[in-house]
Symmetry: C2
């Protein structure tokens, strides 16, 4: 029984923090706001968590999971390496999530992680996961030295599109971002490799 209520409250606070994060970014996250968003009184946070940073940590994991679920779902459906690569690209731009406020919130997480070792570890983890997913699509069609460069290119295009969405004066839509990245990826691979990837499960 004790476990249960504790888990529920922690989860509610994490989700409250997530909603506040999407609206105000990391800097707009105050303990008061988190608790209010979770429908609890302001002091409750320090009862269920050591401090605000702990909530932040779990909130970011939660936020990442929301996006990763989109990626994973699409990857599972993909019948071959090429479609898996497309699944990764498309999964990183879900219609409902590719939005200025949210993009900005993610940016603020990047900024914060430069000064918080815990968040930095998370950030590295997310990045390694993305890199390893991309690698697994192309490692059979190019030599080992070429892979990192290709991976960096795709990652830069994905992150860059989010940054663009957050900040640029001419906003890009998710369809445009996907299309743009897909086009550049096709250039980089060439039709021979794309064909090959379509043949590998």
């Amino acid at each position: 029984m004790k476990r249960s209520i504790e888990d529920i409250r922690r989860q509610e606070l994490i989700e409250g923090a997530y909603r506040a994060f999407l609206q105000f970014g990391i800097d707009g996250l105050t303990t008061a706001r988190i608790c209010k968003e979770a429908g609890m009184s302001p002091g409750i946070l320090s009862y269920y968590f050591k401090n605000k940073d702990e909530v932040l940590f779990w909130m970011v994991r939660h936020a990442n999971r929301v996006i990763m679920d989109e990626v994973v779902t699409r990857m599972k459906r993909a019948p071959n390496r090429w479609d898996r690569l497309l699944a990764i690209i498309e999964g990183n731009f879900p219609e409902t999530l590719f939005e200025q406020n949210i993009a900005n919130a993610w940016l603020s997480f990047y900024v914060a992680s430069a000064r918080d070792p815990q968040l930095e570890r998370l950030q590295r983890l997310f990045h390694r996961r993305l890199a390893s997913n991309i690698s697994s699509c192309v490692d059979q069609v190019m030599d080992d030295e070429s892979v990192p460069r290709f991976v960096a290119m795709v990652a830069i295009l994905i992150d860059g599109s989010w940054l663009h969405r957050a900040a640029a004066s001419t906003k890009i839509s998710n369809a445009e971002a996907i299309d743009l990245i897909k086009t550049q990826v096709e250039y980089a691979l060439g039709s021979a490799k794309v064909g090959e990837m379509k043949r590998i499960k």
Copy 2:
């Protein structure tokens, strides 16, 4: 005489703010830190500026000018449109400035500009300048509807590389970033257009 000392102090404070910005990002900028960095006592800021935000505003302009000078210098030397495009790309990655702390500071500026209309205007201005520079290189070799997409692609690669530098676990060097962007740009344009651009002054 009055003008002179006022201008000097304002400039010193702006440069102090710039140094603090590079080290700590926008969030690490306190009035005390700015004044200390400028070698003055903590109260001086409100004598020469309306408030901290005004210093911030001028500091960001200053910071942008440092990079833009790199771009402009290279552009002036470029004999044709292709070299001008390369000048823009290379100018956005000066050896001494393409560094994690600085990249992070810029990111924090992007985040802040989402909530500060003054900074947002600056940010739009910077972006329009970049877009217009890129456009002017390619507007003779592609039809008008294709230009924005190409511009977005290059801008995304530039911004994305900075984001990558700030945050990714595998850091990219300026040479690698330039090379990667150049490669993707060549793919996107094709050798015919590149050849054409080399012929247009």
